[in-house]
Symmetry: C2
Subunit: 287 residues, 2 copies
């Protein structure tokens, strides 16, 4: 039976550190604050928003939740982002995406100050991920994968890591983080000829496909570590990952459960980034 | 015998297009202009500078060559970059790197206007390479690899591409370009456990190791395409690539020679980027 790489203890460990850092900031009169910006009423967004606000609240991070109707004018959304950029009380801004089609995604991402971009959506943050400069912030989900590996003492050095998916939210950034941790990284995607021949020879598989049953017995080998980033709805209406967990669990060495794996770490990373943004703001003010 | 993927015809084709675009710009009273900034007298830099200036000159691109002594103050170098940023006659700036150790590389890269960064050294350009947004410019050498593949009608879709090296000058950007062209991309580096087991199963190998003999008969298989980015000095004092060309040429399908391969395309790409920067500047002025 595979080891279950649960997210809860990873999140707890991160949150403990966040709490200490929040206290230090509050002692100095700084209240770390996160603003969330949501357009419309997507169920997944509402669920994540609620978890994020709850997590932050429990750690002493203030929150401001902004919600627009689905048909909001782009200009109104941009005005709000500019206001948040200029509000020194706000340290981090989380914008739920994808946005409705009438809104220009690139324009919205460009509008956000990179210093407040705690979920890595701006070019500034993504450049930091690509160059390894440490500037900006990594997308929270990508970093959550790495936090799980770190917590469970899985050293990527020299390992073959195969990433399924090349999105800017997860596939591409996690591939850069794995590379920075000295893994030999392969990125597969919809145009990859024979995915299972790539995944079978991996030491670590990061699955960000977005389809239930994308990773089955044909894709895995004994000894592997599976990080399942998928959040899909199974035929039974329940949440499931990209992996056929019950089938591959007897084969692989370790796997993150869904739910209870990567997804349960992201709000902790979001809180961590918010505190870090507040700390950086304090440093810059004192310079 | 392997097909030799020579750079000269690739460069010629690019230059033909550049020449047409230069004419169009000059007809509108715009003279595309490249400034080169060199610190010290590194032989490789001087050689490349001479080729770049010659190539641009032959295509109707004006050039300004700035040379500082090895011990130039950082502030003087930064002042020059600011002057070039603000000089509307200058469309592209090529800064030779690595810079001497007393100069902060990141500060210099940050100083350059992304709009004039025709060799992809700024965070703005690198974000564009990573996100595929088309903003900024790709490092010329990385793009030269892709121009060779394009010219010789090698469609990367679904191919296994193995990149050796993870630098920001070549390994990382070329991996993103290959990915954007739908290859399944693996990045190997000094910490990769068994490089030859990765390279042997590749369809395309891009070698940017920087060591002569890095790619030998053990690394290759029949049918492969080898893009050799190395520029090393062999034991005989002659320039050579990363590949043991004479030994692997009987095995592989195609290989870029060194000299005469990737390196002979870079100045053409540099000229192309300079013209493109000039065209973008015209567009922005007319908006």
């Amino acid at each position: 039976m595979a080891q279950l790489l649960k997210g809860a203890p990873v999140a707890s460990e991160i949150c403990e550190k966040v709490q200490d850092r929040v206290s230090l900031l509050r002692d100095r009169g700084v209240v770390p604050t996160l603003a969330t910006v949501r357009v419309g009423g997507n169920d997944g967004d509402i669920y994540y928003e609620r978890s994020a606000l709850k997590r932050c609240g429990s750690l002493g991070i203030e929150t401001e939740s902004i919600v627009f109707p689905e048909n909001v004018e782009e200009s109104e959304l941009l005005d709000t982002i500019h206001r948040l950029n200029n509000d020194s009380r706000i340290h981090g801004v989380l914008i739920f995406r994808p946005l409705p089609k009438h809104i220009d995604d690139q324009r919205v991402r460009d509008a956000l100050s990179p210093e407040k971009d705690i979920d890595g959506i701006t070019d500034g943050s993504l450049a930091g991920v690509f160059t390894g400069s440490g500037r900006g912030f990594c997308p929270c989900t990508a970093q959550s994968c790495m936090e799980i590996l770190r917590y469970y003492k899985i050293d990527c050095t020299g390992m073959r890591a195969v990433v399924l998916g090349r999105s800017l939210v997860i596939g591409k950034p996690v591939s850069q983080l794995l590379l920075a941790n000295n893994a030999t990284v392969t990125v597969c995607h919809t145009r990859t000829r024979d995915i299972s021949s790539e995944t079978r020879r991996a030491d670590i598989i990061v699955a960000a496909v977005g389809h239930a049953h994308a990773i089955g017995v044909d894709h895995v080998s004994p000894g592997q570590i599976i990080i399942d980033v998928g959040t899909n709805t199974g035929e039974d209406g329940k949440m499931c990952g990209d992996a056929d967990t019950s089938l591959i669990e007897p084969i692989v060495h370790a796997i993150t459960p869904v739910p209870g794996g990567v997804g349960s770490v992201t709000t902790a990373v979001l809180a961590l980034h918010t505190v870090e943004a507040a700390e950086r703001a304090v440093c810059n003010t004192n310079l």
